[in-house]
């Protein structure tokens, strides 16, 4: 850890076989995840997809990025990144998924659709302003 850690460690040079095997495993897993996505599993599809992706990511991290043999600190840093990302997603979704417990109406937007889909103006805006003849100024209003 300190500046003068005396001796040089022998570098880990992984064999060609390991790299190629990991590469092949990644390809196979890619094929598997694509295949599974065409089998309807309901909500489980997402779980399986993320699980396979995590296995692939672990392979990349452990072998290609040498975390298996490298200094432990680098692995810890990687795990910290995952941990804080998890915190971010989890605590945010604690809010977004538990809204409206006290009153149902506060759960979702009033107008679900965004403005770009609302092709027509609301009726109240369509009224021709001038044609309103109940006004006491109707004589002075220009047509």
């Amino acid at each position: 850890m300190t500046g003068n850690s005396s001796k040089r460690k022998a570098e880990h040079i992984l064999s060609l076989r390991v790299y190629l095997l990991v590469g092949v495993a990644l390809m196979i897993l890619t094929a598997v995840t694509v295949a599974v996505s065409f089998i309807p599993l309901g909500g489980w599809n997402a779980v399986v997809a993320v699980a396979i992706a995590s296995v692939k990511a672990s392979l990349v991290a452990l072998f290609f990025m040498h975390l298996l043999h490298d200094k432990r600190l680098n692995l810890i840093i990687f795990l910290i990144a995952i941990l804080f990302l998890t915190i971010f997603i989890t605590l945010t979704m604690f809010d977004t998924l538990t809204r409206g417990t006290v009153d149902e109406r506060t759960r979702s937007p009033i107008q679900e659709e965004a403005v770009i889909y609302q092709k027509t103006l609301p009726d109240s805006l369509k009224n021709n302003l001038i044609e309103d003849d109940s006004s006491i100024f109707k004589d002075t209003l220009r047509p």
């Binding site: 300190t2 500046g3 971010f88 538990t98 417990t101 506060t106 965004a114």
Partner: protein, 536 residues
């Protein structure tokens, strides 16, 4: 009588180019110091103008539009250009390698690059003044920030760039602390300022990228209406607040933790006493760094987030208060049976204890759900964070500046005038901001240009306080600049401290030490040795 050393980092090379292309961490620290003092000046003038406008209700010196731009700019400049880089980038850069007996930080070019990134970000941020100002508040809440006609993109882009500066500084510090410590200097022999910088750096690298993506999404929302944050486009403004505070709450600790580190140094040195509970202070910094990521939702108790989320965030918020409390008691215990001297740095250290305690305790008010509902977005919040940020970080920063001033320049400032300035700043600060606690709990909302007559006396009093504060800072500027030219040489160790940097000359040579320093004692072993003061 002390003399300045013949060769030191300031006269090693001369000319503007030698500064602009320097890789010396000390010079980069000084460059940062110039930058943040400039930012503090701009932010301070804006604060004064805002306070003057608030002297009476209605229009005093500017219209609502200008006022809104000024308080936004005051917040953004003070936070992103001043406080966040203040202690880590200026003092930290200057001191960290010296404190661990290294020649430089791990990546000197990255260090210089981060200063240039800082300047670039500052240019973008300040360009927004020219291109129409920004009136959203420093929080850029959507949908206001997506629909206002002012120049939000320039400002957010500037802050996005500034984020990289902050990330690179943090990255550099972590690697430096891990890999560059001098032989025999184990973690528990590090000065607590280094621990504090370490905890700060962790937050910087973890939180700042989220600010980056938040501002990027905000820019995309403005440019393309991508619909993540803008309710009209199907987005959720409360989600924006989650994104924003995931960075900005930990950022509060980016601001205060290094200040706490300085206080640990000051209290121990000026009490000539071994720091009480070294490990407690060191680990509470790390604990704060971790827990600070779990509490952001307390900025949103009235925002429309779910009641369950609010409850969780409130609970977690109280957890973060405890390590801060532990630190305060540890500092107090350090003074017990010490040999306390009241030099200017210590005066700022003691003011920190005084003001930060008030700031911390009022934080408990804001963490309590029901009370926060009343106090949220009132002047109580304004007062609270000024007590923590200005009463905490800025006091610590000033303490640190005075403490290490002789190390930076080799010369000492006037003891008399520095005490006078301290007293004025302390009084002015309390006049300005304690008043605002009362304003806030009586219901005065923040970011108000105009206000009801019942708040006028308190507002006027607060404005007068801000003028007092300004006088203090003007005096400080004068005697500090004066000391650069006329100050008496301070000697290597004017305060009688034990950390590495005081073993070198003042100012130190380019590679910090003439010969590698030897670790013969811990940073706070005042029970074993009492080093002589070389000044006066």
């Amino acid at each position: 009588m002390n003399t300045l050393p013949e060769n030191h980092y300031l006269n090693a090379r001369r000319g503007l180019k030698s500064w602009l292309f320097t890789l010396d961490h000390k010079r980069i620290g000084i460059l940062y110091l110039y930058g943040i003092i400039g930012a503090f000046f701009i932010g301070g003038v804006l604060a004064l103008l805002v306070r003057l406008e608030l002297f009476g209700p209605g229009r005093d010196i500017m219209d609502a539009k200008t006022y809104n731009q000024f308080f936004t700019l005051h917040g953004a400049v003070m936070i992103f250009l001043f406080i966040i880089p203040s202690i880590p980038a200026a003092l930290g850069n200057f001191l960290l390698p010296q404190m661990i007996g290294a020649k430089d930080v791990a990546f000197p070019r990255l260090n210089l690059a981060s200063w240039y990134i800082y300047i670039t970000g500052a240019v973008f941020a300040l360009y927004s003044i020219h291109s129409g100002g920004v009136d959203t508040g420093w929080t850029f809440y959507t949908p206001y920030s997506t629909e206002t006609t002012t120049s939000v993109i320039s400002m957010t882009l500037g802050i996005f760039i500034l984020g990289f500066s902050s990330i690179f500084t943090g990255l550099n510090f972590i690697v430096t602390i891990h890999k560059m410590r001098s032989p025999g200097q184990t973690w528990y022999k590090l000065p607590l300022f280094v621990w504090a910088l370490y905890a700060t750096a962790i937050i910087q690298v973890l939180a700042t990228p989220v600010l980056g993506i938040t501002l990027l999404l905000l820019i995309l929302e403005r440019a393309f209406g991508i619909g993540i944050f803008d309710p009209a486009m199907g987005g959720d403004p409360v989600l924006y607040q989650h994104f924003f505070w995931f960075y900005s709450h930990p950022a509060v600790y980016i601001m205060i933790l290094p200040g706490m580190g300085i206080i640990s140094e000051l209290i121990s040195v000026f009490s000539r006493k071994k720091i009480f509970g070294y490990k407690a202070i060191a680990f509470s910094s790390l604990a704060i760094a971790f827990v600070s990521f779990l509490v952001w939702g307390h900025h949103m108790f009235t925002s429309g987030q779910s009641e369950i989320a609010a409850t969780i965030f409130s609970f977690l918020t109280f957890l973060v208060g405890i390590p801060s409390g532990i630190k305060v008691f540890n500092w107090l215990a350090t003074m017990y049976k010490g040999r306390i001297s009241f030099d200017t740095p210590m005066l700022y250290g003691l003011s920190f204890l005084f003001l930060f305690t008030i700031g911390g305790l009022t934080g408990i008010f804001l963490g309590a759900l029901a009370v926060d509902v009343h106090l949220h977005d009132t002047y109580f919040v304004v007062a609270h964070f000024h007590y923590v940020m200005m009463g905490g970080t800025v006091m610590a920063f000033l303490g640190g500046i005075h403490f290490w001033w002789p190390k930076m320049w080799g010369r000492m400032f006037s003891s008399f005038w520095s005490t006078v300035a301290w007293a004025i700043v302390f009084v002015g600060f309390n006049m300005t901001f304690f008043t605002q606690f009362i304003l806030g709990s009586r219901g005065m909302p923040r970011r108000y240009y105009n206000y009801l007559d019942q708040y006028q006396p308190l507002h006027a009093f607060s404005s007068v306080g801000s003028l007092v504060l300004a006088v203090g800072f003007i005096i400080m500027g004068i005697y500090l600049v004066h000391s650069l030219f006329r100050g008496k040489p301070a000697g290597n160790n004017p305060w009688g401290a034990l950390t590495f940097e005081w073993q070198s000359t003042s100012p130190p040579p380019t590679e910090n030490f003439v010969k590698p320093p030897k670790l013969t004692h811990g940073p706070y072993d005042f029970d074993k040795i009492s080093p002589e003061r070389t000044f006066p």
